[in-house]
Amino acid sequence: MNLTNKKLAGVLLLTFGLMPAFAMADGDPAAGKEKAATCAACHGTDGKSIDPSYPNLAGQYESYLVKALSDYRSGRRVNAIMASFAANLSNQDIEDLAAWYASQDGLKDIAIK
């Protein structure tokens, strides 16, 4: 297949233009563990929350956790407790924390039974 430079540029543009908006640099679970001391007070050291009104985070999808923390930070998702914690998080912090909780064993996909 002969691609002119122009065509190649078009293909590359399409390829990268269609990449998910939430594709981010991978978080570091070890760094996330260090940063999760505050979170553990409610969500547990193992990602299993200390009270049923708080969600379990262990095993949750990393991209969902990134989305949730980002939404708390931006105010799109409203929760007084989470807003104050998320306000101080950098993008890297969010990715690291999400990677840490995603690496734990816990939540499951539901299957049609």
């Binding site: 998910p20 939430f22 929350s49 969600p55 999808y61 991209s63 409203v78 816990g106 939540l107």
Partner: protein, 106 residues
């Protein structure tokens, strides 16, 4: 003091009413639609793109609160708001009970 005068105080002592428990079997039936997105491992929400959260083994109270927040508009997600809009309180409790139970069978 007449007893009925003490009722408000008794209620205060009892604290917030415990959330009614849902019916797991009812929830299994009512959650059929949910599995279209939450039942596919790694399934992506279309935009913005992130994976549809796992809810098997999630806490009952959190799930009820989340569904109620979608229904009343406090929590934003077009698909979830639409789904939750047709759910009664009992539906939410049943569905939450079923999902919460899924983490306890292993």
């Amino acid at each position: 003091m007449r007893f009925y005068l003490m009722l408000p105080a008794l209620l205060l002592v009892a604290g917030e009413p415990a959330m009614a428990a849902g019916d797991i079997e009812e929830g299994r039936v009512k959650s059929y639609t949910c599995t279209g997105c939450h039942g596919i491992p790694g399934y992506n929400n279309v935009y913005p793109t992130y994976k549809v959260p796992k809810i098997g083994g999630q806490n009952y109270e959190y799930l009820v609160t989340a569904l109620a927040a979608y229904k009343n508009g406090d929590r934003q997600h077009s698909t979830m708001q639409l789904q939750a809009s047709s759910l009664s309180d009992e539906d939410m409790q049943d569905i939450a009970a079923y999902f919460a139970s899924l983490g306890k069978d292993e």
